[in-house]
């Protein structure tokens, strides 16, 4: 790696540091670098302390790095809290005219506010000044930044865009004139496929849903899932689709089930607390065999917990949620690409097996930006499953919504089609969907539903593994730890410590055989999870009998970094 730089923008909520961060990320990506950016926000709208961290490298990066090279301090607290994270040759830029502090070597004052006023006529463009200043340290091509600023602000009018560019250029020039030799890393734009995109996990899910034909989403705001709802809803103006805000999460999932029953691909996104309220209706989806995709964007619990932070503590809950037994699938993508394609797969499986499918993400994946190769829309296949067509009809009374079949899947007929009636019931029912008390009907239906699960099992792709086949140690992770795990494994192997990684993104039905064959032989197994009990380890034991004794866990609401893994790995030894 020639370039591997991390920027940290810190300040209060409401200071717009997400904008600086995003603009930096986008500019660096435009310069041909691979970018990863994560966010750390408090649950408040103004004040407090937030930061946004951007990592840029000339090779793919999918995790944060703890070593920070440039800190952009929008407030004093950023300096006091993060100065110690700075690499030796790193630098902190701040507005020394606003923030009084001792100025050690690696602090560089840039009068953000004064420059904003001078160049843009207002004090509000400090963010653009800061972005310009930061990129100037790298001798980065200013035109790229200008293009990004233009793209971001043109909606607000060319004048606004122009002023921001001027503010940025003031910051850029100021640093150029005042930082001679203070920062050694320089970055030149490199060529790259112009097919690259920069997006976060939430955006990837919303895009996957939209491109895969999801036309109805209902939602109730809840961090960190709200942006999925927003991305989806924002397309209501452009496309024929509906986002509907519910009065509560119970309403949300039932609206989606209603739309799905009527024949429309439907999906909901929430967090653990909202999902808890949907649990009864998840079971309803199971019983009525109504397709539905539910995204749980995890955050630390229990209860309200840390609303804006990250955790992976709802794996076992997702697998077992709902009263009674019914088939479901549970996915946990590791990056936006997986999120995009798994959303598409989730929608297909939901339709084909007429089941609920759960996608587990967490705040870290949801809010983090990754550069990825543009997703291949033309590879997306929309498979709505099997329907009962007019030609299947012999006479009107013949269609049976819950017909017992070999596969367990009953062809669907949509209400209003005219050649049959779609009748379903949350009670145990006859084949034609009416309430029953019969033991035989029950047995057939339970077995039918379980048959679907067995078929579904075959749809599950094996987990991703990486590293030398003969490694004695395997680190097992799932969901959003993908990038950190892989980078940690790479580093260990590069240090001559043979380590393999196993990452599960399609978790339920559990790929027991594939996991067993990976974990059977190695002597040392370590599960790496953002929770306190090691839920994947528990699940693996339940499904394979293999016990994972060592665990690298994190449960303070902060993401697992490669460095965190390496430190904990060293302790396990």
């Amino acid at each position: 790696m020639e370039v591997d730089l991390t920027f940290k923008i810190g300040g209060e909520a409401g200071q717009g540091l997400q904008t600086v961060g995003y603009i930096l990320a986008k500019s660096l990506a435009k310069g041909g670098l691979y970018v990863f950016a994560n966010q750390d926000n408090e649950s408040r709208i103004r004040g407090g302390h937030n930061f946004f961290q951007v990592r840029a490298s000339d090779r793919p990066v999918q995790a944060l790095s703890e070593k920070v090279h440039i800190i952009i301090a929008l407030d004093k607290r950023t300096i006091s809290e993060h100065q110690n994270e700075l690499a030796e040759d790193g630098i902190t830029i701040f507005d020394g005219e606003k923030i009084k502090t001792e100025v050690p070597d690696n602090l560089l004052s840039v009068p953000f506010e004064r420059l904003s006023k001078e160049k843009a006529g207002v004090a509000t463009m400090v963010n653009s000044v800061a972005a310009g200043a930061a990129l100037s340290l790298l001798d980065f091509d200013f035109d790229l930044l200008a293009t990004v600023l233009n793209g971001e602000f043109k909606e607000k009018g060319t004048e606004v865009a122009e002023k921001n560019i001027q503010a940025a250029s003031a910051g850029y020039d100021y640093v150029k004139g005042n930082s001679e030799g203070r920062f050694k890393y320089k970055v030149k734009p490199v060529n790259y496929s112009n097919q690259r995109i920069l997006l976060n996990g939430n955006e990837a899910i919303a895009s996957g849903a939209l491109i895969s034909g999801c036309k109805f989403m209902s939602g109730y705001p809840m961090s960190p899932s709200t942006p999925i709802q927003q991305s989806f809803a924002s397309q209501m103006c452009e496309y024929d689709l509906v986002f509907e805000q519910g009065e509560d999460e119970i309403s949300v999932i039932n609206m989606a089930l209603g739309a799905s029953f009527a024949g429309v691909r439907s999906m909901v996104a929430t967090s653990g607390g909202g999902f808890s309220l949907m649990v009864e209706s998840l079971s309803l989806a199971g019983m009525t065999e109504t397709p539905i995709v539910v995204v749980i964007a995890q955050r630390p619990g229990p209860a309200t917990g840390f609303p804006t932070r990250t955790e992976q503590a709802e794996l076992e809950f997702a697998i077992h949620a709902g009263h009674g037994e019914f088939p479901r699938a549970v996915f946990a993508p590791g990056n936006p690409e997986q999120a995009f394609y798994l959303t598409s797969k989730a929608l297909n499986l939901a339709d084909r097996y007429q089941i609920p499918v759960i996608i587990l993400t967490d705040q870290y994946l949801a809010d983090s930006y990754f550069t990825m190769e543009r997703f291949n829309t033309s590879s997306i296949v929309v498979d709505r499953g099997v329907f009962f067509r007019e030609s299947d009809r012999v006479k009107l009374s013949e269609y049976k919504r819950h017909m017992i079949t070999d596969s367990g899947v009953s062809p669907r007929l949509l209400p209003g089609w005219g050649w049959g009636l779609a009748v379903t019931d949350s009670d145990e029912h006859t084949e034609d969907g009416h309430i029953t008390e019969l033991a035989e009907a029950r047995i057939k239906n339970v077995q039918k539903r379980l048959r679907k699960f067995e078929l579904l099992r075959q749809e599950i792709s094996p987990p991703y593994s990486y590293g030398p086949a003969d490694a004695e140690t395997v680190m097992v992770g799932w969901g959003s730890t993908y990038g950190a795990l892989k980078e940690a494994a790479e580093i260990l192997n590069s240090q001559g410590i043979k380590v393999r990684m196993l990452h599960l993104s399609e978790i339920w039905p559990f790929p027991a055989q594939a996991v067993s064959s990976e974990l059977e032989k190695p002597e040392s197994l370590i599960s790496v999870e953002s929770n306190a009990t090691g839920q994947m380890a528990h699940l693996i034991r339940a499904e394979t009998g293999i016990e994972i004794k060592s665990k690298i866990l994190r449960y303070d609401g902060r993401p697992i970094s490669p460095q965190y893994i390496l430190r904990e790995f060293a302790k396990i030894g």
């Binding site: 895009s207 491109i211 036309k215 024929d240 009065e247 509560d248 989606a256 691909r265 949509l414 089609w417």
Partner: protein
């Protein structure tokens, strides 16, 4: 080619209600209303909850989503948005609709999707063997309220009017003809229509019997102007010696569909999806 529907087309399965239950009248009235509306079974989607009332759709012919206790309205809402060609009728008991499902009622009224909601109001939880429902009278004694129900009886008519429901009516299961006409009007109303139906539960409610209702109900006539909010509110509060049935309140207001006519012009359910037509949403993320 439209064929004439008749009651026979709606004939459904065997009922599981107690002999003499007020639900039978409602079942008859619903069938009659659908016939009067000249709807064929396949054009109708009933959405019901759980309770004795909520079994009704099993006893006629229609599309049916018999979901969870209390969750009829969101399901009906989602289905109607997805396919506005369907005549969507939500159906359930007073416990279902005013107890477990109370929040959905408030917000369905606000949303004003063009659906009809029939509430079999027997002032009791029938299926679970006789607990007080939100419309049970204050002081009503049951096995779980041995000292009587402490809560005040809910007035669903007043509640709906206060929220500006576009159609608020009350029927009586003992007057099938009147009730079926009322249901016809409710379905024909554009927007959310609430029909509360007085329904004796002969097994568990020994207070509000057929006799009790019959001696109290009277039909609203043309002297009542349902568009007059004040008059309607007053009628809504009539409960005691005289209980009005008929259309209590009506308000012309934009429906959900009026706010987004595209869902009617190009129903979601009709759309053929082409993933590539969505290609451009990825442009936003272009580096």
């Amino acid at each position: 080619m439209k064929f004439m529907v008749s009651l026979k087309d709606y004939e459904g399965g065997e009922t599981a209600w107690c002999p003499g239950c007020g639900n039978f009248g409602i079942l008859q009235a619903v069938k009659k209303a659908l016939v009067k509306l000249e709807l064929e079974p396949y054009q109708v989607l009933l959405v019901s909850g759980i309770g004795q009332a909520a079994k009704l759709p099993h006893y006629l012919k229609c599309n049916l989503f018999n979901g969870l206790h209390g969750r009829t309205l969101p399901v009906a809402t989602g289905a109607k948005i997805a396919n506005p060609r369907l005549t969507v009728i939500a159906d359930g008991g007073d416990g279902d609709g005013y107890g477990e499902g109370g929040n959905h009622l408030i917000h369905a009224i606000r949303r004003n999707v063009d659906i009809t909601y029939l509430v079999h109001d027997n002032q009791i939880y029938g299926l679970t063997k006789g607990q007080a429902s939100p419309t049970s009278e204050e002081g009503f004694v049951t096995k779980i309220t041995p000292l009587g129900m402490f809560s005040r009886q809910l007035n669903p008519m007043a509640l709906a009017i206060s929220l500006g429901a576009s159609f608020v009516g009350r029927g009586f299961s003992g007057d099938i003809e009147h009730l079926s006409d009322l249901i016809v009007q409710a379905v024909e109303n554009r927007g959310f229509s609430l029909v509360d139906i007085l329904q004796p539960c002969v097994t568990f409610n020994r207070v509000n019997t057929f006799q009790w209702y019959r001696s109290r109900v009277y039909k609203l006539d043309s002297s009542h102007e349902p568009k007059d909010w004040l008059a309607a509110s007053q009628k809504a509060h009539e409960w005691g010696d005289k209980i009005p049935i008929g259309v209590i309140y009506r308000e012309a207001r934009p429906t959900y569909e009026d706010h987004n006519p595209r869902i009617v012009q190009k129903p979601l359910v009709d759309q053929q999806h082409d993933p590539t037509s969505f290609e451009k949403i990825l442009d936003e993320f272009k580096v």
